[in-house]
C-alpha cells in the first residue's frame, strides 16, 4: 500500500516534469512550466520523506538544509553573464550525487546485475562531476580556455579508459568470487570512481573555450543519464524516467550545436581545435596585402542614424564586455528614430546553447526582435548596416568558399552581404578557430576597435547628438 502510494507520487512527479518541459516550448508559458517541474520534484521528495522508512532524520534535515542554502545563494547571487559556468557547476553536483548514491548501494549489493548498474552509474556520474567542474573552470576563466593538450594525451586517455574497464570487471567479479564479504566490490568501485574522475578531467581539458556549448550540452545529457543509471540501481522508476528525459534533452542540444558548427561530435571531443593565440601580433593586413579600415564612433553614429534597417550580431565578446544593456539602449534610441533594428543570433554564439538570448533578455530586449540564423540570413542583402558586437568566426565568409579554412562548411550569418558592416572588436586577435576573418578586410567593412561596452557607450552619446 505504502509503496503503491510512493510509486503513484513518483508517477505524478514524472508527469509534471514532462508537462513542465512541454511548456518550455513557448516563452509565454515557460516560467509556469519550470514551476510545475519544481512542484513535481517537491512532491517526489515529500513522498519519499513521509512514506519510506527513514531512520535518521537529523542527517537528512541537515543535508537538505545545507544543500538548499548553497543552491539558493548560488542561484540568487550569480550574474547573468556567469550563467554558463553556473549551469556547468549544477551539472557537476547532479553527477556527483548520482555517483554517490550508487556508491552507497555497493555495500548492500548482491548479484552481478546490481553491481553492473552501480559501476555504470559511478562512471557516468563521476565523469559528469569532474568534467563539469573543468568546464566550470574554463568558463569562469580559472582554467585557461585554450584547448590544453600535451604529448601522449591520447595514450593516457586510453590507459585510463582501460583501467576503468579493469576496475569495472573487478567490481563485477567481486561478489561472485567472495561470498563472505563485499570488500572486492566496494574496493573495485572506489578505484573506478577515482579513474572515472581522471577520465572526466582528461575529457574536457583538450576542448577549447568556443567549443564549450557542445561540451556543456553533452555534460547536461550525462547528468541525466547518470540519474537514470542510478534509477536502475535502486529500481526507481522516477529516476529512470526523469533521467532519460534529461538525457534525451542534452543529446538533442548537443546535436544542434554540432550541426551549427558543421563538425561531428567526435571532432569536437578530440579537440585541440585552434589556439586562441594570445601571442600572435595583431596583424592589420592579410597575406595578400589587404588591410582593414578603421572607423570612429561619430562616423558610425551617422551611418546608423541614417540607416533604414540595422542588424546587430552579438557574440561572446558582448558577454565578456557585459555590453548587453548598452546594446539595448542604442537599439532603443535608433528605433525611436524610425530605424528598424533586429538581432541575428547564431546557434553557437557564446559559450552555451542560447547564451546570447539570455543576456539580451536580461537587458529587456523583446524576444520577438531576436532572429535565428535561418530566419534572418536572407535579410542581410537588404540591410544598411550590420553591427557585429564581439562575434568573429560566425560571420567569417571563408566558411562558405575557402576549403582550406578550419571553419569551412560551418553555416554563418551573412554579414558580408549587407551594405556596410561595422565590427566592434578589442583587437585583431583571431577567433577561436585561429583564422583571420575575411569580413574584416572587405571593402564594406569598418573596424571599431575597443571594449564593446565603451564603444557602444560612445556610439550612444554620438547618436544622441545627431
Amino acid at each position: 500500500m505504502v509503496s503503491d502510494l510512493i510509486n503513484l507520487s513518483y508517477l505524478l512527479a514524472a508527469a509534471l516534469f514532462i508537462v513542465g518541459l512541454k511548456r518550455l516550448q513557448s516563452p509565454a508559458t515557460a516560467r509556469r512550466g519550470n514551476q510545475l517541474a519544481a512542484l513535481g520534484m517537491l512532491l517526489a521528495v515529500v513522498a519519499t520523506l513521509f512514506l519510506k522508512q527513514i531512520l535518521s532524520p537529523i542527517e537528512m534535515i541537515a543535508g537538505l538544509a545545507v544543500g538548499g542554502l548553497v543552491g539558493l545563494v548560488l542561484a540568487r547571487q550569480v550574474k547573468m553573464t556567469a550563467m554558463p559556468e553556473l549551469v556547468a557547476a549544477f551539472n557537476g553536483f547532479g553527477g556527483l550525487a548520482s555517483a554517490l548514491v550508487a556508491g552507497a548501494e555497493v555495500i548492500g549489493a548482491t548479484g552481478w546485475s546490481t553491481v553492473l548498474t552501480i559501476t555504470i552509474s559511478v562512471v557516468i556520474g563521476m565523469v559528469t562531476f569532474s568534467g563539469s567542474f573543468v568546464a566550470f573552470g574554463k568558463l569562469s576563466g580559472k582554467i585557461s580556455g585554450n584547448p590544453i593538450s600535451f604529448r601522449g594525451q591520447g595514450l593516457l586517455m586510453t590507459l585510463v579508459a582501460g583501467a576503468a574497464i579493469f576496475a569495472m570487471a573487478w567490481a563485477l567479479i567481486g561478489p561472485a568470487s567472495l561470498s563472505a564479504g563485499l570488500a572486492p566490490a566496494s574496493f573495485g568501485v572506489l578505484v573506478l570512481a577515482a579513474v572515472a574522475l581522471l577520465l572526466g578531467i582528461l575529457f574536457v581539458m583538450p576542448i577549447g573555450g568556443a567549443d564549450m556549448p557542445v561540451v556543456v550540452a553533452l555534460l547536461n545529457s550525462f547528468s541525466g543519464l547518470a540519474a537514470a543509471a542510478t534509477g536502475f540501481v535502486l529500481g526507481n522508476t522516477a529516476l529512470i524516467v526523469s533521467g532519460a528525459l534529461v538525457g534525451a534533452s542534452g543529446l538533442i542540444l548537443t546535436n544542434i550545436m554540432c550541426v551549427a558548427m558543421n563538425r561531428s561530435l567526435l571532432n569536437v571531443l578530440i579537440g585541440g581545435f585552434g589556439q586562441e593565440s594570445d601571442a600572435s601580433a595583431p596583424a592589420l593586413g592579410m597575406a595578400d596585402g589587404r588591410r582593414v579600415t578603421t572607423t570612429s564612433p561619430d562616423d558610425t553614429a551617422i551611418l546608423l542614424t541614417y540607416a533604414q534597417r540595422v542588424i546587430i550580431i552579438p557574440g561572446y565578446g558582448l558577454a565578456v564586455a557585459q555590453a548587453q544593456h548598452q546594446v539595448r539602449e542604442l537599439a532603443d534610441i535608433l528605433q525611436a528614430r524610425g530605424v528598424d533594428v533586429k538581432y541575428a543570433i547564431h546557434p553557437v554564439a557564446g559559450r552555451m546553447p542560447g547564451h546570447m538570448n539570455v543576456l539580451l533578455a536580461e537587458a529587456n530586449v523583446p524576444y520577438d526582435q531576436l532572429f535565428e540564423m535561418d530566419d534572418i540570413n536572407h535579410a542581410f542583402d537588404n540591410t544598411d548596416v550590420t553591427l557585429v558586437v564581439g562575434a568573429n568566426d560566425v560571420v567569417n565568409p571563408a566558411a562558405r568558399h575557402d576549403q582550406s579554412s578550419p571553419i569551412y562548411g560551418m553555416p554563418i550569418l551573412n554579414a558580408d552581404q549587407s551594405r556596410a558592416a561595422i565590427v566592434l572588436k578589442r583587437s585583431m586577435r583571431p577567433g577561436y578557430a585561429g583564422v583571420q576573418n575575411e569580413l574584416f578586410f572587405s571593402a564594406n567593412t569598418r573596424m571599431l576597435f575597443g571594449d564593446a561596452k565603451d564603444s557602444i557607450s560612445a556610439l550612444i552619446a554620438e547618436v544622441k547628438e545627431i
Binding site: S26, S56, M60, G94, A248, G354
Partner: protein, 99 residues
C-alpha cells in the same frame, strides 16, 4: 530489469518529442531546468541517507543529498530567474517601428 529498460527507452522518445520543439531562445533555461530535473537523484539520496547499512552508506548518502539538493534548489531557482526575464514587450514603443 527489462521493464526498467522499457521505461528508459520510452522516456527517451518522449523527451525527444517534447524537447525538439523548444525554440533556441529558450535553450539555456531548458538546460538549467532539465538539469534541475536530473537532480531527481535527491530521492535516491534521501533513501541512502536514511539507510542503516552502516555509517559508510549513510555518510555517502548525506554527501549525495547535499549535492543533489544544491542541484535541485539552485537549478529550479536560477531557471525561474532567467525565465522571468523572457517577457514579451508591447511592440508599439515611442515612435518605434512595429514589425
Amino acid at each position: 530489469m527489462l521493464t526498467y529498460l522499457t521505461y528508459f527507452v520510452l522516456s527517451m522518445f518522449v523527451g525527444r518529442e517534447v524537447i525538439s520543439k523548444v525554440p533556441p531562445t529558450l535553450h539555456t533555461p531548458l538546460m538549467s531546468g532539465s538539469n534541475a530535473i536530473s537532480g531527481i537523484t535527491i530521492v535516491g539520496a534521501l533513501v541512502a541517507a536514511g539507510m542503516t547499512e552502516g555509517p559508510w552508506a549513510r555518510w555517502l548518502g548525506v554527501a549525495a543529498l547535499i549535492a543533489a539538493t544544491i542541484n535541485v534548489v539552485g537549478g529550479f531557482l536560477v531557471t525561474d530567474r532567467m525565465l522571468q526575464m523572457f517577457k514579451k514587450k508591447p511592440t508599439a514603443r515611442l515612435g518605434g517601428t512595429p514589425h
